[in-house]
């Protein structure tokens, strides 16, 4: 008798979320099988990688990744256009770092102007991220949602401490929303429930269970993502079916392996390669765990992960 590959079928399905508009709009999610196991089900959309840019020059980024954008990162519009036109970015993630009270404490109105400028300069979908300051994000992201009205952006991140105002703004201006919790699957589920109980459509949600870099807790992130997928697919838990976000770059480009100089640790090899490899490896772990949307920094790391995705699909 011929060997028959045992197949596992899932009762649930990851929700399909679209963002952006026109012919550059993207879809993520929609699969009813575990990551890349297309022989067991449908896998309509490949994971998407968005290029991360900031609203102020990335002076806090390590040299390896700062240098990759040294001629364009002086202003966000030039930077965004460079990613779209030269690097062929399919999506861009604009992080409003300058609004953080400990950085430049720029106002929500300033952020709104930057967003409008960037949106009018690019065609690819935009992800708009706050500075990860609970109180400040609640005002900045509300202004951001309004400024980007009609562009079908992804905004975030809504967290336990600020989700109400951000959800209302995303609802009013018809954006997709990132719901973030800190490496706790039960809180991730709870936040999704609370957000949908406000009348926000679960088909517009993206779950960020919090990323971590290789060597710095990647296995916790991996495990939470994997369990989210299993709950959504195997147990058909409707609250655990939104696509998953991996915000990789910001967690990778601060660990010592991406920063330490060759003279300090010669046995670690070339610094430039090390950082890129670190980001690519972390991101690869994420997609294997089920991430549908990645936010990354270094063009070479992105290229490597795109290649891996193409080979896996």
């Amino acid at each position: 008798m011929a060997y028959v590959v045992p197949k596992e079928s899932c009762s649930g399905k990851v929700l399909n979320v679209d963002f952006g508009k026109g012919n550059k709009a993207l879809n993520i999610g929609g699969e009813n099988c575990l990551p890349f196991l297309s022989f067991e089900g449908e896998l309509p959309n490949r994971p998407v990688i968005a290029y991360e840019i900031q609203d102020i020059p990335p002076v806090d980024w390590p040299d390896t990744v700062q240098n990759a954008y040294k001629d364009v990162s002086g202003d966000p519009v030039t930077w965004a256009k460079y990613c779209q036109n030269e690097l062929k970015a399919k999506a861009i993630a604009l992080r409003l770092v300058s609004t953080h009270p400990d950085r430049d404490n720029h106002s929500a109105e300033d952020a709104a102007i930057t967003i409008k400028d960037v949106l009018s300069a690019i065609e690819v979908p935009l992800i708009i991220l706050g500075s990860n300051h609970i109180e400040k994000d609640a005002t900045v992201l509300v202004a951001a949602a309004e400024a980007a009205s009609g562009y079908n952006c992804i905004i975030g991140k809504a967290q336990e401490g600020n989700y109400k105002t951000i959800v209302a703004a995303a609802l009013a201006h018809n954006h997709k929303l990132i719901a973030m919790s800190e490496l706790d699957i039960n809180l991730a589920k709870q936040l999704n429930i609370l957000i949908t109980q406000m009348g926000f459509d679960k088909e517009k949600l993206i779950t960020d269970p919090m990323c971590s870099a290789l060597g710095y807790g990647l296995e916790y992130t991996y495990s939470v993502m994997e369990r989210i997928r299993l709950a959504g697919l195997m147990q058909n838990d409707a609250t655990m079916q939104p696509p998953i976000l991996g915000d990789v770059g910001m967690y990778v480009w601060k660990v010592k392996e991406t920063v330490a100089s060759e003279s300090d640790v010669p046995e670690w090899g070339t610094l430039a390669e090390r950082g890129v490899a670190w980001e690519a490896m972390t991101a690869t772990g994420m997609i294997i765990a089920g991430t549908n949307l990645l936010i990354m920094r270094h063009p070479k790391a992105i290229e490597t992960v795109e290649k891996t995705i193409a080979e896996l699909i």
Partner: protein, 262 residues
């Protein structure tokens, strides 16, 4: 856990009156309420329905499925009424469940109908003579029904074995026999046999104010042994909360503070 909503029964006065008057509204409302509360199947118990059984069952199935997009559990001893119900059933919402066959030759016709209409079927582990004494006897009867199902061409995965729950107030020792049977039934096949109970039988005859408690505790014990489905009242919130909480403990539902609201 598969929940089979039990409220549409000829035994209930309101339902019986609506059936007799062919008034769909009260029946549709009851079906819809159970569906919204989480029922996966809606039980349609028309009793023996000797007169106009076929027409009644057809009307019931069509009336309910016009409102509720769920499969039905067709519950009658009248085989021709059952067949009429299977014909009327809209399988777009899932395959119907026949309630029930047993090891009584008079009920073998139900297996034939299950095969003919590609329906699932509840198999009560009782025979012609008397009630089963213990779990072992229930398993013996189950094995006979399974062999018979194979003869009729009903796949084993379409059978829900029912140990027959008896009332605790008169046959206390049977409560544990049935729980043990749920465990043993699963071992009769690989993949494990599916199981079902008519839950509220356990509290028949006990004072009304204690019935809920008895149903809840008994359901927990049955679920712990791997019960697949229960014919029960999904409108009983405390019972549903117990079920959801047991599913959390069994790892079948991911915990979140609001899990009872889902």
């Amino acid at each position: 856990m598969i929940i089979i909503g039990e409220k549409i029964s000829v035994i209930a006065k309101k339902v019986r009156e609506a059936m007799n008057a062919r008034d769909p509204k009260p029946i549709q409302e009851l079906a819809n309420a159970q569906w919204k509360a989480g029922a996966h199947f809606i039980d349609v118990n028309t009793g023996p329905a000797e007169e106009k059984g076929e027409e009644l069952m057809t009307w019931m199935v069509q009336s309910i499925q016009a409102e509720v997009h769920a499969p039905l559990c067709l519950d009658t001893t009248n085989a021709s009424a059952l067949e009429a119900g299977l014909k009327a059933h809209n399988n777009q919402w899932g395959r119907p469940l026949i309630n029930s066959t047993s090891n009584d030759p008079e009920r073998f016709g139900m297996l034939e109908l299950a095969a003919k209409y590609n329906a699932q079927i509840v198999a009560l582990t009782v025979g012609k003579g008397g009630l089963p004494a213990d779990a072992e006897e229930r398993c013996g009867i189950a094995a006979e029904i399974m062999a018979r199902a194979a003869e009729f061409g009903v796949p084993l995965e379409d059978i829900f074995l029912d140990p027959l729950i008896l009332q605790v107030c008169t046959t206390q020792d049977q409560a544990m026999h049935s729980i043990k049977a749920i465990k043993m039934f699963q071992e009769l096949n690989d993949p494990p046999m599916k199981t079902v109970v008519g839950l509220s039988n356990i509290s028949n005859g006990v004072p009304k104010n204690m019935r809920g408690l008895i149903d809840r505790v008994y359901l927990t014990l049955l679920m712990y042994e791997g019960l697949t489905a229960a014919i029960m009242n999904p409108l009983d919130k405390e019972l549903m909360d117990t079920l959801k909480t047991t599913d959390v403990f069994l790892g079948k539902t991911l915990y979140a503070h609001s899990y009872l609201e889902m």
